[in-house]
Structure formats: structure tokens, C-alpha cells
Symmetry: D2
């Protein structure tokens, strides 16, 4: 098929091969080139996908005329220059999360993409997962009633990474999911951290607690931890009508919906306020198990073809960067709330 | 036995009957009297323990000459006057938690007890549980190494109470346990809350997040929530050598000890710092299942007899009140850290 | 109230006090007497319920004119003589499970009760639990479709009992529940056992597997075990439309209903039969948490008043005894199926 | 490296690609050829491993002079002719489980391999898993004491397969694991089944219960089920000193060791036998997570090089076939025990 869209992937480290695998199996586009500075990584990919053209730098790949779109899966510090260059060369761009190191960079990319009429998308993978899509539809339909709070725990005995702390490593997942679920305006953010593990000069935050206050006073809270002996991926969303527990690690029941709400009533005899709890049924809907990253790839291609905005567009990426930067400022102020 | 110590219990509401039941079965002391303003509660106790003398007010009970010690299990606002009166009448005193409404009241009781050489104890029940005693001995023996962080979650769809918010309802449990485990000096405390449920004027905090920073920078964190669809009672304690998960609701494995530590090393080739994780065995020791409240009661009697200080003495109760009051101040300052 | 029915309980061992406690709190009848050969057990009950008349033998209690009905909670070997005597003295009778030691004894009691127009009920407690009632209504409504199989596991590190083996100790629970759920005719039963633990002459079956084949070929299976390091109480019921998991130890989700059925279709190309699985939602209905024994007590009183047959009547008790005796015969024949 | 051993794999269906992947990554041998009758499956493998020679029949591959050893991963009905041919052509052979359709075929292959001095191995994958190796060392060291019973549950809502029933599909896993753990002589076997799902003539056993009695009277039991709404993979092994729970689906705690044993003592006062339970600590050792199939492949190569017998040799494969055939006979006799 002559008109099949042609794709390139820049970066074959931890996450790149997953994108490559998903692009490779799409029928609606053709993965033609990859780039990585590490020749062993390039040849390891070549062995799996013999037809790929290999480049030792992202810039070389970007200069290829036959490539329509690129995915950038490199360390975050290189996201901005590579994406800018790709957009200037007329390529549609998918960037790994977090989108950029600064708010200004994200804004510049959004402007550039808009000017060139190119698709700019961020790989907020979880936003495309069956579980998050199910919860989004529940919230949007009003099933939960008013949202009372949002509480997220993402802890594990993770690999320490050299170039990021636990905030930049884990929070992009939760911030992107929360932003896609709660269509509320963030007012302020607070972050408290701890750095018990050190190595010479290097002493990253490895335990961080974040609170987000929305304009309507709703509270969201995040516990991020690289030093937990057990792995937990659990989000509670309390609503006035129903409540949701999203446990990413429970394959059979990723989403549980509780018919437990509260109902305020006055007990006149005792002249005091009581709140009665409705404790009801629990329902664990079937959740689509399609790999979320496949849906990310498909949405990228589809948006290029139809000149549409993806769900995880540049604005969504920018909002995550905004939250990260504000959380960073609050960390330096020992948890003081920072306006967004 | 002539010399058996004689006890009275003031308050037969939710918790009082548990203290009465435990005192009643002790051989080393004799429960002789109870007091409650509600005649139905008094007679309900009388039916179970026919020999009890009944009083309609705590003051009446306190005035009885034959009573050596009293337990005060009434609403917190009455703790101070009752305890003061009891101490002035020469009775040893066990007070339900939290000890008092203010720091000054707690300090006054401690002074009074010291002056009269009477035992003053606070019913920090969990401090006496098999699980907490096991963890305490682990920490004291140095098995965990340096403490990296302390993270506690106590959430459920609880009964809203008229006279307290979620802070005063749940935090005393966690503050007393933490204080008994970590012999570190608290530097400052921060609390952020949310009050999504209201009834007229009444609008209590029902979701609260608390951070405590110790003088050595260690971080402790608490999630208290009356609006969770699932009940969680879980504390993570990360150490440089071992880590502990204390799950109060897992009867078979309340305490799990993980041989997972981290080990920092330099990867010279890649000129960057790596941290390797030791991921090892897990051990769930047998935990003594004796009812903690029975041990509280026994310790109270024993300390009276031997003129010793109980583990949960007035100072322990005072520290919990100090933390509660400081958390309250921080709540009003939108989470600003408050020095202790 | 003059006409309040008067009750007596014979046997204050392990289970008796639970019946006494439940009868004592009923308003519709009055517990007036208890009997036990052990004076310590009698006085222990007297302390809790001071108005009770005490008897040192069940026969003495049975002879009291003012008593309308008795509960027999003694070792199984005494069930028949006591129940016979009680019925002959015009008392309605509630017997602990298993009803009797032999089929003939159970049949004799049924005949006697019918002749005297007295209520004869067996304390099949679990049959009255919220979970079993919920499952029964699901099956009776046809929600599960055709029943494919019934699989029950009841294992724990239990107390060895002197006078029974694991079959007589645990199977009455499962046989009574199964009989109340599946209205199918039992054709034959097989039991295989193991007796690894011995003490001199005494060497009871402590691990037993039982298979029941119904007339329509449906298979039920039971795993009973006193030597398991973990406690399991789980029943799977497979249906053509839905499947049920009943986990007695999961308080939040005792009953789970799975929308997973199978759907047979022919794959013509490959000339072979395929079976497609529908894998759908899971639903955990709210289950009534009223203590099942309270409902047993209430049903007993109600049936006496209204001269009705209880759900767990003599016939139900007889069926359990029939299954136990047939399983015993199969055990002696090394698992050969025995016709019922 | 000239002397690198050369391997071929026959069969690229469900399991074949896993063997191919593991052989391909070994440094100590070279995978050179694959065979499958389905050209799509051949080319799908070629795409991943471009250097492979492709054959459309196993016989063609077997005739290649340069191949030293073959793995046979085809439907069980073809195992015998292919393995016989391979052995006759001087190839070492690794066969997928179950080894053959009949006892006689397995015996013939063993004789042939012995005569030709070739390695004959069966892919009993689980026998090489970290969990099973850990349990084997526990049993062999005597830690568990005397083995009291062995209870295995392997149930799920599985794919119905056209050519086998649940016995031949699932039991080979459990029979091979049990045989590798318990070095006891099997005396007899009983199997009871149910076939609730049918499609015309085809009506396979989809629920099967199997009991194995060893010569020393120890009992092993297996529950195999294609119709369970929940997936369970759990084996209990009761010993006189310790007990083991092996849960294949609990990644954190695949093997749990309970310090719970029983201790028989006589209670003289009450003239009856009591058994006291020691209820002690639980220990979940770290389990090697190396893919078991990689160890199978390595052991195959190593045994060829060193002319040694693999753990899962022809005799082990034969024993599994013997148990399957005997279970089949018992199924036809409605569960009557069949001598082995």
C-alpha cells in the first residue's frame, strides 16, 4: 500500500521497544526507522525487525523525507530539542511522558504544532487503559455523584533512577490519570518529601506526598514511594452516590464500584446530627484488557489521518508538567501550597 | 481476699463495657462500681454483673471511700474535670484516649498525679497489642536498621460522630502507636483536610492527611478517612535493613517483615549512581493474640501495686494531645507546618 | 406476658451458650431453664442469666411442666434418647446437628413428632445465613442456569475431637447447605479418607474427600481437612449461565456472582468443536449479616406458634444423617460409590 | 564456534514458540531449524529469527544430518512416531508433556534411547520452577517431617480443547510435580469426572477429581476443572513438622511454610485424647524467578554434553503417562481404585 503512513521511533531504552512492538503490528501504518545512540540497542531491534532502517541519532532520523511521524522515547532532557526539530521538519510527534522539563518548552511545542498544523501527542499510557476509560465514563455519566476526594497510592521497591527523583518518575502517571478523570480546575498544590537514601552528592526525593486542592475545594492526594516493601497501585475515588476502588494490580477486579454513600439525617431526640451510611452492593465490571499502549498508537495514527486532537494532546502534557513544576516548588518550600 | 484492689468505671457507652468486661475477669482486682447518666446503660451492665454498685454520676462514684482506682470512659470534654476530681480524692486514674481536650489540662493532671503519687494512665489500647509489641521489639533491637519513613493508613466508611472530626476520632490511635515505636523527637507537623459532607452548620473534617517531620528529618505520614468504601488499617515502616508491613485486618499475618533493603553502589562504566535492591525472604512471626485491653487493665493494676509508671503514662497521653492540637492549628493554616 | 412460650436448653458446652444467648434476647419467648452435668458450666451461665433454673440432667429439665420447647445441644450420642423423651413429654424440639447417630433414630423422631404434632427442627445454622439464603434465591430464580457442579472446601488446622472424625465434625455443615441449595435427588456417594495422625488405638479420619452423584449426573464434591495450615471455607457453584463463589471468610464479598458462562459453537473450517467463554462482570451483592443462629431461634418459635414446618425440619436432618452414614460405608469400602 | 550443538524444534503452535524463544537465547547451543505443517506459523517464526531453516514436516527436519537434537512440541498423538524417528536418526529428544498416548509407547522410546545412548527428556516445565525446586529441597531435607497428605487444585475457566479432556490437559502438570516431590510408590488411583458440557457427540470430562493412594497409605488428591469462574493454582502439603502452601498465582509468596504442626497428648483428667496444635510463624522464602523453561532447555543441553540423565527423563514421562492411563480406566469404572 503506497499511502501507508511511515513512522520512526527515537530511543530504544526501557520504553521504546514497547512502542516499536506496538507500531510494528499495526496494519494502518508502517514503522520504517529507529534511532538510538547505542549500537547494541539498534542491532537488538534490527534482529527482531529486520527491515528497519537504523540511525545513530534522532536528528538523522528526523531529516528523512519519507517519514511522516516520529515517537520520541528518550530521556526527558532531550524531549524538547528533538520534538522541536521534528515539528520543524513537518513530522507529527508523539512524546513520552513527562512531555518536557519546563512549562515554557511545552508551551513552545504546542504553539509550533498548531502553527504547522501537526499532531502533537503525549504518551499518557494509563489514560487509555480499560480501567481508566471505564472510571471516566462512570464519572462523566454522574454515577458517582459529587466527587468528595481522590486518593492515589503508587509505591514499590523500585529501581532508583539517576536522572530523576520519585516525583518525576511516578507522578506523571497519576497526574495524567487524575486530569483525565476530574474535569476540575486545580487551584494549588503542596508536596512534602523525604530523601533518606544518599550517595555522595546525589540524594533524590524517594518518598513524596502531594496534595492538590481544586477550585471547588475538592482534595486530591498522592503517595509516591520508591522504598516500599510491597507494591501498591490503588486509587480511591469517593463520591456522594458511589465510590470507586481502582486497583491496578488486581487483574480480576481492577475497578470496583461500591454502592456505599452517605446520607445525612437529623436525630431530633438526641439533638445531634447523624450521618447514616448506605452499605450496599459491589460491582466489578468487565474491563477491556487491550494493551493501553496499542490504543495510544492507534489514536496517534487516527488523529494524524483525521487531523483531530488526541485525548492526550499537548495541553494534557503541559498540564502534567505544570503540576510537576509546581510540586517541585512546594517541595523546596517544605510543603507550602503553591498556586497553579 | 480483703486486700483486693477495688475499681470503678465511669461511662458505659461504646467503649466502657469493654473495660468493664476486662476488669470483671481479672483475679487481681475487683470491679465494684460503675457510673453512667443513662439508667438503661446502668441496668444493662447490672444484668451482666449483678454485684455492681450503680451511680448516676461519675462524681458520686469518685466520692466512694472504698474505691482505689477509676477508669474514665466518657466523652473527651469531661475527661479533665473527672480525672482531676478522682486524683484529688486519691484515686488512681485510667483515662480513655485522647487524654484531654487541651495540652494544659493534660499537664495539670500529670502534675496532680505526681504530687499525690498516684498512677495516671491513658488507655492507648493498640500500644499493648501483640502486633505493636512485636514491631517495637524489632525496632528496638535494631533489626530494621535506620528508619527511613513511617506511613499509616486508617480509612473506612465510619460512623460520623457529632462531637469530633476524623482527626480526633482516628488520629489518637496512630499517634500513640507511632510515639511508642519511634523514639525520635517530633519537630513539626502539617495537616490538610477536607470537609465535603455538611449538615447545616456542622461540617467536620472527614478526610485528613498529616505529615510529621522529626528532628532527624525522618518523615511520618497519616491518612485518616471516614469516607472510604473499603476499610484499610495498614502501616509501612521502611528501614535501611528491613521493612515492616503491619496490617491490622489480616489476622493470619498482622506483621510481615521483608528482607528487602537497598544497597547503593556506583556503576563506573555508566558514570552514574545505581541503587541495587536486595529482594529477599518474608517472615510473618506469630503474634500474641491476647486482647490488648486486657493487658492495659493488667498493667494499670500492676503499676498501682508496684508504684511504677505504665508504658502509656500521662506523658504519653500528653504527647498525643500535643500532636492533635498542633495538627488542628495546621489544618486552620491550610497545612502549613507547625512547630511542636 | 402470660402466654410467652417457655424454653429450656440442654447442654452448655461449646455451642450451647450461643443458643442460650440468642434465646435470651428474643422478646417472643422466654428462656427459663438450662441443664448440664457440669456444675461449673451451669453456674457460669447462671452468672450471665441470673433468673435461669438449673438442672443437672436433661431428663430433669424435660420433666418440667412449664416448659414448652427444648433445644438439645449435647454430644450426638445423646441426641436420640433426649429428643425422644422430650417429644414424649410434649415438648417441641430443636436438635443440634448432626441430628442423630443413625438413620433409624432420625426416622423414629420424625414419626414421633408427627404423631404428637410437635415441631422437630435441626440446628442447620448455615442454612439460615444471609449468604446461603442469597445463593438459594439465585438458584431458585434460575439465574445460574443449569447447575454444572458443586465444589466445597472446608479445611483448617482444627481441634481434633475425641468422639468424632473429620467427617462427622465438618460434613454436616456442607451436607445441610448443599441439600438446601440443590433440589436434586442424590443417587450415590463416595468417600475417601486418610488417618495420618494416631494416638494408640485412636486414629480418626482427618482428611476426607467426598463425591456425590445426583440422579441427573451432576457432581458435588467436598474436601474436609483438619490438618490444613490455612483456613478455607469456599464453595464454587458452576452454572450454565452464571457461576457463584461463596467464601465464608471474606466478610466484604461472601457471595460473588460471575457473568461467565460458556457458549458452545462449531468452527466449521477447522472441523472441530470450540467452546467460547463469555467472561463478564462480577457482582457481589450485599448479604444480610444478621446472626444466622438468631434466625434459627426465631424460626423455631415461629413454627411452634404457627404449627408450620421449619426449613431445617426433621427430614432435612434425616437427609444429612443418611449422607453421613453412606459416606461412612464408602470410607470402609475405600471410596466405592454407595447407593443412597 | 564450530562445535556448538545444533537444535531443531518441531511444532510452532501454542507452546513451541516458547521453546524456540528459550533455545534461541542460549549461548551454549544453536537453534538452526524449525518445522510446522502450517506455513503461516513457519513464516511468523522466520520473521523473528531470520536465520532459521524451515521444514514443512517434522520428518524432513529429523533427516537433516547437521542437527544434533530435536524438541517435539506437537499434538500428543504424533509424539511417539516423531520421537521414534528422531531417536533412530541419532537425535537427542525433548518431548512436550504428556510424553505419549500409551504406556507401551513411552516404554518403547525409553528402550530405544537407552540402546542408542541418546538423551530422552520430557518437558515437565513446572518441575524446574523455583517454587517446586524450593519445596523439593524442603521435603528432601526432612523439614516437613512425615508427609501427611498432598492436595492440589488447578481450576480455571479454560479454553476447551478439541482433542483432549481436562484430565489430559491439566493433570500432566500436577502428576509431574507430585512425582518429583514425593519419592513414594504409588499403589492405586481413583478418578471421578463430570461432563456437563456437550456438543453433539463430543462431551469431554471437564471436571475431574483424582485420588492417589501411595504404598505407605499417604493420600494425594487433585481437583481439575475447566469450568471454574476463578483461577486457582494451589497445593497444600501437610507434614508432621511443617506445612507448605504453594500458590502459583501469588507472585510475592509462591511458597509459604507454616510452623504449624500437631502434637498429640493425653489429657488424663478427662480420660480422652487431645491433640494440641502448635501455631507458629510463617516464612515465605525468596523463590528463584528464572523462567522454568529456560532451565529445562539448559538441562537438556547439559545432559547431552555430559551424557547424564535429566531430572525429567523418560522414566518421569512414563510415570505421568501411567497415572493418566490408570486415571482414565478409573473414570470408566466410576471412580473405582485401579492398581498401578
Amino acid at each position: 500500500m503506497k499511502n501507508k503512513m511511515k513512522l520512526g521511533v527515537i530511543g530504544c531504552g526501557y520504553w521504546g521497544p514497547n512502542l516499536i512492538r506496538n507500531f510494528a503490528k499495526l496494519e494502518i501504518a508502517e514503522l520504517v526507522a529507529i534511532a538510538d545512540t547505542d549500537s547494541r540497542k539498534r542491532s537488538s531491534m534490527k534482529r527482531l525487525y529486520p527491515k528497519l532502517e537504523l540511525y545513530s541519532s534522532g536528528e538523522d532520523l528526523i531529516r528523512q523525507k519519507n517519514i511522516d511521524a516520529v515517537a520520541i522515547v528518550t530521556p526527558v532532557s532531550t524531549h524538547y530539542p528533538l520534538a522541536k526539530s521534528a515539528l520543524k521538519n513537518g513530522k507529527h510527534v508523539l512524546i513520552d511522558k513527562p512531555m518536557t522539563e519546563t512549562v515554557e518548552q511545552a508551551e513552545a511545542l504546542i504553539r509550533l504544532a498548531r502553527k504547522r498544523r501537526l499532531v502533537l501527542m503525549v504518551d499518557h499510557t494509563f489514560v487509555y487503559s480499560g480501567a481508566v476509560r471505564k472510571i471516566r465514563s462512570l464519572i462523566q455519566s454522574g454515577s458517582l455523584g459529587d466527587i468528595y476526594y481522590y486518593d492515589s497510592v503508587r509505591v514499590n521497591l523500585g529501581l532508583f533512577q539517576h536522572d530523576v527523583d520519585v516525583l518525576w518518575d511516578l507522578a506523571p502517571h497519576d497526574f495524567s490519570v487524575m486530569s483525565s478523570l476530574l474535569k476540575k480546575k486545580v487551584k494549588e498544590i503542596s508536596a512534602i518529601g523525604s530523601r533518606p537514601v544518599r550517595r555522595g552528592e546525589w540524594k533524590p526525593e524517594s518518598v513524596v506526598y502531594i496534595a492538590i486542592r481544586f477550585a471547588d475545594h475538592t482534595l486530591a492526594h498522592f503517595h509516591l514511594n520508591w522504598l516500599s516493601p510491597v507494591k501498591v497501585r490503588r486509587t480511591l475515588i469517593g463520591g456522594s452516590r458511589k465510590m470507586v476502588v481502582y486497583d491496578h494490580l488486581d487483574p480480576d477486579n481492577q475497578v470496583k464500584i461500591f454502592n456505599k454513600g452517605i446520607h445525612v439525617k437529623t436525630d431530633k431526640d438526641r439533638s445531634k446530627v447523624l450521618i447514616q451510611y448506605r452499605v450496599g452492593d459491589m460491582f466489578a465490571p468487565k474491563v477491556d484488557q487491550t494493551e493501553a499502549l496499542e490504543l495510544v498508537c492507534r489514536d496517534f495514527i487516527k488523529c494524524i489521518r483525521n487531523r483531530k486532537k488526541p485525548d492526550a494532546d499537548g495541553e494534557a502534557g503541559l498540564q502534567v508538567v505544570r503540576l510537576l513544576k509546581a510540586a517541585e516548588r512546594s517541595l523546596r518550600k517544605n510543603g507550602e501550597f503553591v498556586l497553579l
